[in-house]
Symmetry: C2
Subunit: 199 residues, 2 copies
Amino acid sequence: MMAGPTSGRRANRRGEGERLRGELVEAASRLLERLAGEEALSLRAVTREAGVAPQSFYLHFPDKRALMRAVYEARFAELTAQMRAALADLDTAIVPTGRVGAVARAYCRFGMAHPGQYRVLFGTAGAPGWDPETLPGLTTFELLRDEVARCGVSDADEVAVCLWVFLHGLVTLRVNRPSFPWPHIDHLIDRTVTAYVGR
Amino acid sequence: MMAGPTSGRRANRRGEGERLRGELVEAASRLLERLAGEEALSLRAVTREAGVAPQSFYLHFPDKRALMRAVYEARFAELTAQMRAALADLDTAIVPTGRVGAVARAYCRFGMAHPGQYRVLFGTAGAPGWDPETLPGLTTFELLRDEVARCGVSDADEVAVCLWVFLHGLVTLRVNRPSFPWPHIDHLIDRTVTAYVGR
DNA sequence: TGTACATCAGTGAACGCGCGTTCACTGATGTAC
DNA sequence: TGTACATCAGTGAACGCGCGTTCACTGATGTAC
């Protein structure tokens, strides 16, 4: 039986208290990957995962909502970074529709690799002030729309909405209905990009 | 202060005990409409809504899962009934793509009118033996696919998958991102049907 | 250089709550004789 | 026709659990003098 503050973990050095904040966000993200479909992401589970007492949570967040918002922002930043990276990796000579396909595949790859995190991003009703629109920088939708616009379609906004809707449906249905006889995902994406913006 | 079994509600007459089962399913469905996004559908909330003591639940269901399954089946039957009704209402001279659009709109109408119920049907990972495939009669997907097949496309199954994915994404994103500047839903559906199966 | 002290990072113990579930009970209703 | 009894439909009270949150506390670390 140990007692005292070292029973859980060694305290961070002075001035490094902010580190726990990040660790809590990462612990929550890890739990979301593991629990996947389950809504059971409790504050106590997060602090347990981080190896810290439940009350330590309140050193860095006013309440549970604030943690979820921090998770939301961190994962959102990761998703957009991966979409951007997929575009950056392309041959500069690729045709515009090829770029649309690449960014679409990156979106789906993220969602299917991290279903629990994806659910936080798009699978729940964003509270007021939670929508992607309020985040700094380009949003997921805008990344998609900009590439669609390069293809020269007459109404890029509407086509991009359709594509986003399709990709979202693909990620979520694919995860929720694993026993359905799914065709290959990339093929469905390519087919849909072609249907909307041509080849 | 009342006491005795009449404090909650009058017991059903002998032989009519089964009525409570149906009332519990309807109470759960009502709560799903009201709570919408919230996962907070507890057994106690359901019995409260039905005006009955928590333990009365166990007269008709072995556990909470069984109730969710009953809700799932009842709402699924309603969705397919509405899709069928939409087809039955059509002029018999309508072109095949018109029928696809009609059944697609009926699907979305149900999902957007009852987001909480729709979430139970498609928004969670169906447990083994829970998938639409195991339900009696035609499934949602099969209803859609049969109409796509009538259009004479070469690979009706794959097109129907794409359409289903699109409709699912439309319902869920539309509900989860109400502040996004959405184009008119029926227009998006028509545009997508046209993109996949032509006019 | 030594020491008193403020501050920082975190814990111990506890609260009230709603949850799913169990057990023993009650009161009304139909049935056998 | 009356009455004892079985059955049915449901309740009262309680259980142990994990939850979000609060309050008072501790031990290490840096700083002023």
